[in-house]
């Protein structure tokens, strides 16, 4: 009967209850929308890291990444690449020669990372071709072509066809330079990387570095994200003596960002529910104060204080959870819509998004994995919110309450 009384009690003042139920629904909707937005952003960021930047796995000589010394090429690189490419879990594997150097034009210079790539393989692992916004991909018939990022092009005032000089040290420590012509300009969702990375044909770079036929890195893109761990273990077992890292190890900041954002999501939910808790407390307190005499009468008749507490708790839970499905459904509908159509935020700080490595088109995702957490927060809010009104009710002395 307590459950039935609680349900009927919340509808005694329909307007007041509806206002708080709608507040909870709106609060939850906002919270779920933020969680969905974050989830979409993080998923997109991780996809960028894997599909367009680092790939799932990378293999280097153990000493290479200490100082990016060009002499630390992968031993038996060609046979290693062949063996890896033959693995059934591997979608694409791309060899890269990498060195740090200076890009110079008539108007200035900038520090860059020069990536020597096999165009066809690179296009499959990092989608370099798809990111080109001006010019044409590498022409195999031409030598010393370079593809540069949009941000670098803007900074150095470079256009397609422009000439530039790349200077770096070779394996013997000699300073070498090469004149390159801009074949294309690319733009990814990560502006800092666009500013730093330039791509040249692996043969052109290897000749200058004096490491013909060798390379420093193999980037491996897998068919399934879930295979990262097993394939990494397999490679470590089959090819000891190499540094084999997964994307989380290569880009720990992304992993940290994903984990931190997960925690932020809950903090945002807690803040929203904390604000709503005051509304719930206010509503429940008003309901209790209006019913002082009735509660006093119930105690006088023999209703135990625990039953009174349960009645108030049930009312608070009802008033809280009634808005919950509305908020969740609203969130689900809106998130689903934008998941299909995308949410273009280029008008709201697109530059800033790009500088943090995020795309300007966000595809929010319903945070189904956080629903249980959200429900726990909602129920927790109801429990906390009912305490003050309940204490107020439990302190009533029946003889005094009946006089009011």
């Amino acid at each position: 009967m307590i459950v039935m009384m609680a349900w009927r009690n919340i509808w005694r003042n329909k307007m007041r209850s509806l206002v708080i139920i709608l507040s909870i629904a709106l609060g939850l909707f906002a919270g779920i929308a933020v969680l969905g937005l974050y989830k979409g952003m993080m998923k997109s960021r991780v996809r960028n890291v894997i599909d367009a930047e680092q790939s799932h796995l990378q293999i280097h000589d153990p000493d290479f990444k200490k100082d990016y010394e060009p002499k630390f090429t992968l031993r038996n690189g060609a046979s290693l690449l062949k063996a890896i490419s033959a693995l059934p879990q591997v979608k694409a594997a791309s060899p890269r020669s990498i060195t740090n150097g200076m890009l110079a034009t008539a108007s200035g210079s900038s520090g860059v990372q020069i990536n020597g790539v096999v165009p066809d393989l690179e296009y499959r692992t990092s989608q370099l071709k798809a990111k080109i916004i001006e010019g044409k991909p590498f022409d195999q018939a031409r030598k010393n072509q370079v593809i540069i990022g949009k941000k670098l092009a803007t900074k150095m005032k470079l256009k397609t066809g422009a000439k530039l000089v790349l200077t770096f040290t070779d394996t013997a420590g000699n300073l070498v330079s090469g004149a390159f012509r801009v074949a294309a300009i690319y733009r990814s969702d990560n502006a800092p990387l666009d500013e730093r990375n330039v791509y040249v044909n692996i043969n052109d770079l290897d000749n200058l570095l004096n490491i013909p036929g060798a390379f420093h890195e193999i980037a491996i893109l897998l068919k399934n994200d879930e295979d990262v761990g097993p394939v990494q273990q397999l490679l470590k077992h089959k090819f000891p003596g190499y540094q084999i890292e997964n994307w989380r190890e290569i880009s720990p900041e992304t992993d940290l960002l994903v984990k931190t954002t997960d925690q932020y999501s809950y903090i945002i939910m807690v803040i929203i529910m904390f604000a709503l808790a005051f509304g719930i407390i206010n509503t429940m307190l008003m309901a209790i104060l209006e019913r002082t005499r009735e509660i006093g009468m119930m105690v006088a008749l023999g209703t135990t204080r625990i039953r009174i507490f349960l009645l108030i708790l049930t009312e608070t839970i009802f008033i809280t959870i009634t808005g919950t499905p509305i908020g969740i459904l609203g969130g689900w509908l809106v998130i689903n819509y934008f998941n299909k159509h995308g949410l273009d935020v280029s008008g709201m700080g697109g530059e800033m998004m790009s500088s943090f490595g995020f795309g300007t088109m966000i595809y929010p995702e319903f945070p189904i994995d956080k629903l249980l957490g959200i429900l726990v927060i909602v129920i927790g809010t109801a429990l906390i919110s009912c305490l003050f009104p309940a204490i107020k009710a439990l302190r009533l002395r029946p003889s005094e309450a009946l006089m009011r």
Binding site: M1, E294, M297, A300, L301, T303, T304, R305, M403
Partner: protein, 247 residues
């Protein structure tokens, strides 16, 4: 008119239901003490139909609250069926009230979200009564208060008199030792008050239910078989009356 001693006369000695000794209740004891109840002795036997009368502020409601265990006296003891309720904790008092005392309040304190039937059933649910018992008792009680057709009506759909009859049914639902009624007819028109008194009178006579009610309604006083008069928290007279109707 009959004296209290007459009520105690008879072949079987009547059971004591309420035995209050030297009870006092003082408000503002540290500033200006007000004796709401001042050294009162009251002894009620089973089956009595007693009116507690007196002017406003004479301490009627306070005395009822003390006897009903809704408040604690500052001094004195109250025995209900041999149990000194002044020594019970508030939790024990709640349980004691549920099992032993029926209440009828002045302003038809029914739970507005429950139907008439549910209001009566509520008490039996608190007592843990099984459904068949509850159904049987509800049927019996609503027949006694002549509201069989109002079982599913909410209090707001009932007249004041009907609400107060439901309150009487609720007070009796737990089969209490006695019923305390605080000015039960105060908010009723004369016809409703008369109907209510008929029902209470009938229950008292036919089922030997003990009633103690505070009132300053002459219609009630006329029908009480014992009248206890309070002035300034003290009992100034205690006599039995027989209304002309029953004489």
């Amino acid at each position: 008119m009959a004296d209290i001693a007459d009520i105690q006369k008879g072949p079987v000695k009547k059971e004591t239901v309420i035995d209050a000794h030297n009870i006092s209740k003082v408000y503002n004891p540290d500033t200006i003490p007000v004796y709401a109840v001042n050294n009162v002795h009251l002894h009620l036997l089973k089956g009595e139909f007693t009116a507690l009368v007196g002017p406003s502020g004479s301490g009627k409601t306070t005395l009822l609250n003390l006897i009903g265990g809704l408040d604690k006296p500052d001094s004195g003891n109250i025995y209900i069926n041999g149990v000194d309720i002044t020594q019970l904790s508030s939790g024990e008092l709640i349980d004691f009230r549920l099992k032993n005392i029926g209440f009828v309040f002045q302003s038809f304190n029914l739970i507005p979200v429950l139907t008439a039937k549910e209001n009566v059933e509520f008490i039996m649910l608190l007592q843990g009564a099984a459904r068949p018992q509850r159904d049987e008792r509800i049927k019996q009680l609503f027949s006694q208060i002549q509201l069989e057709d109002k079982l599913d009506s909410r209090p707001a759909q009932l007249s004041g008199g009907q609400q107060q009859r439901v309150a009487v049914a609720r007070a009796l639902a737990s089969k209490p030792r006695f019923v305390l009624a605080d000015e039960p007819t105060a908010n009723l028109d004369s016809q409703s008050a008369s109907n209510l008194l008929d029902i209470m009178d009938k229950l008292n006579k036919e089922e030997n239910i003990t009633f103690l009610f505070s009132t300053h309604d002459q219609r009630v006083i006329d029908r009480a078989r014992r009248v206890v008069r309070l002035v300034d928290g003290k009992i100034v007279s205690d006599s039995a009356t027989v209304s002309t109707e029953h004489a």
